[in-house]
């Protein structure tokens, strides 16, 4: 197409405005990264990279800081919440795409979107005032009794059940990420060509067999990408867990232990961080989270793109 078209000045203005708008995103990301690195430089100087990432010490009084307890808490709560959220989310997606009668699809879809729209601080308050007493008084003592005789499992349920712990935080997180996982999984399932499904039904396959052998294999990558997106969200979730995790810098083994995550540490300690190294270490933690989220989202994007490309073929 070597034809030169005389471009309308309006077009040029329009396209440059949109280009500038798009560039702001990149400027913001680079700007944030730059600020995080600059503000954490003091902590990087003091603690290095390896030492900061592997030290379990977090002592504002003695000004000795390490990120491992926060990273560990972040990873454990995230993984646990995914383990709880994914089966439910997949169930919702399968129901909405394959099982549900049409009149139910609308209300359930809306309910899921509403769940996603609840601000996280509300989850946090609900968690502290409603969920954690229920957990501490009923569910956790039950789990403790039920698992008391099983050798390795009982380690997970040791200690006094308080309701401010890993388990409660993970449950709240899982409720928060269900809508994301479910809606991405639903979209991925919808990508399965009807022809293929109908052929399977024609061959006498049951619904379960169609889901298991056709829909899920077909949309694997998309669903996986969706899970990673939820993981990214769980990693960064702050207010909902800040109330129910206790901000304890410890490496824990029991689900009844109170712990901390990177975001919980930041939310709890930022306002009163009065020493330079302390503040800088908090920025350093933020930088670690920034890198972690970036890596996970990059992987998620990679899988989603591959899934789309496969369908495009």
């Amino acid at each position: 197409m070597a034809v030169t078209v005389k471009r309308n000045p309006g077009d040029i203005i329009f396209s440059s405005i949109t280009a500038v708008a798009a560039c702001t995103v990149i400027v913001f990301i680079i700007g944030i990264l730059f600020v995080l690195i600059r503000e954490s430089s003091l902590a990087i100087e003091n603690f290095g990279v390896i030492q900061f990432l592997t030290s379990t010490d977090w002592d504002p009084v003695k000004e000795s800081f390490g990120a491992l307890t926060s990273i560990y808490g972040t990873v454990v709560t995230t993984v646990l919440s995914l383990v709880m959220a994914i089966p439910v989310a997949l169930g919702i997606a399968v129901f909405l795409t394959e099982v549900s009668p049409n009149f139910l699809k609308g209300p359930i879809g809306i309910a899921i979107e509403l769940l996603a729209a609840i601000p996280s601080i509300i989850y946090g308050m609900w968690g502290l005032f409603t969920l954690s007493p229920i957990m501490g008084n009923t569910i956790e003592p039950f789990l403790k009794r039920a698992t008391a005789d099983i050798p390795l499992v009982s380690v997970l349920f040791q200690g006094t059940p308080m309701g401010i712990d890993i388990l409660t935080a993970s449950i709240i997180l899982s409720i928060m990420i269900i809508p994301f996982t479910a809606s991405i999984a639903r979209d991925a399932f919808n990508l399965t060509p009807d022809v293929v499904k109908e052929s399977a039904y024609a061959l006498g396959a049951t619904k379960w067999e169609v889901v298991k052998n056709i829909v899920i294999p077909y949309s694997k990558l998309g669903v996986f990408g969706g899970m990673l997106f939820s993981l990214g969200r769980a990693l960064g979730e702050t207010m909902a867990v800040a109330f129910v995790l206790g901000n304890n810098h410890r490496i824990f083994t029991s689900l009844f232990d109170s712990a901390t995550t990177i975001t919980v540490t930041l939310a709890n300690e930022f306002t009163e961080a009065d020493k330079d190294v302390y503040l800088s270490s908090l920025f350093y933690l933020a930088l670690v989270l920034f890198v972690m989220s970036f890596v996970f989202l990059a992987i998620a994007k990679f899988f989603l793109l591959r899934a789309e490309r496969r369908h495009a073929r």
Partner: protein, 335 residues
Amino acid sequence: MKTIFKVAVVLACMLSFTWAEAADKLNGAGASFPYPVYSAWAFDYNKATGVQINYQSIGSGGGIRQITERTVDFGASDAPLMPEQIAKAKLLQFPAVIGGVVTVVNIAGVKPGEMRLDAEATAKIFLGEIKYWDDKKIQSLNPKVKLSHDEITVVHRSDGSGTTALFTEYLNGVSPDWKTKVGAGTSVKWPVGIGSKGNEGVANYVQRTKNSIGYLEFAYAEQNKLTYTLLKNAAGTFVVPSFETFEDAADTGMFDPKNHFHLWLVNAPGKNSWPIAGATFILLAQEKTDANRKVVKFYDWAFRNGDPKAKELVYVPLPKSLKDKIRAYWKANGI
């Protein structure tokens, strides 16, 4: 074109309006603990004089940083700055109002004010060395209270806070063990216990958890009707947390204008002093004389008219002797 002109006129009007207003407006930022009383005072002061005080409760750390960078007219901090810090950042410092921290427990059958604790027992409980309520040490302090062999659950703050700073400063002063193992600060490395967010979080947790102990701002213990304990003070008496015992602490505390009033009001020597009290402080920039005059005028007004309001909000007003010292300090620093 016409619309652009209109917009410009409106903008110009708004700008000139803000400029005109700026003369009667003071900006402050810092500690969240005194926020309710500062904003109540600011409201009344605005009604009385038309001067607007805009106070943002962003936390003591933020308050210190903002006044050091001169982005606000006054900063506020729950922890007093050391005289060296004041000199380095060229600041002035004076106390504005007093608050206290009380220890609260939840033990079946124990009523408010029944449980007696001393500094050593409190430190050992929060260190995790005393694990059960029927420990000999606690039992010997409370011969009349029936205590059973129940595990103690320690509840502390999960967020950084002036309340924690005050409480740990108290333990630091009375227990060498605490000083070497934990120390004092807005956040510390707690040896035991669960963390709960905010005074309301601690109140909620102690109320709900049997055999627990926690520490919180006096106002929260009052409002939530929690089971406060008596504490043994430096003079050896067991005292009840109340306005009188806080005032007594403030009266006998050695606030010294030469140190810019740097003082943790813990273990005050008075016979009737509650041992964990603390002033919250205002920070000014030394060279900004004009702004300082306006800020000081506000606090002078609050010292004269604000005591009932402060009490209503369960803060302890400064004793008269201290107010006079502060006024002399203002004068000495050319305000």
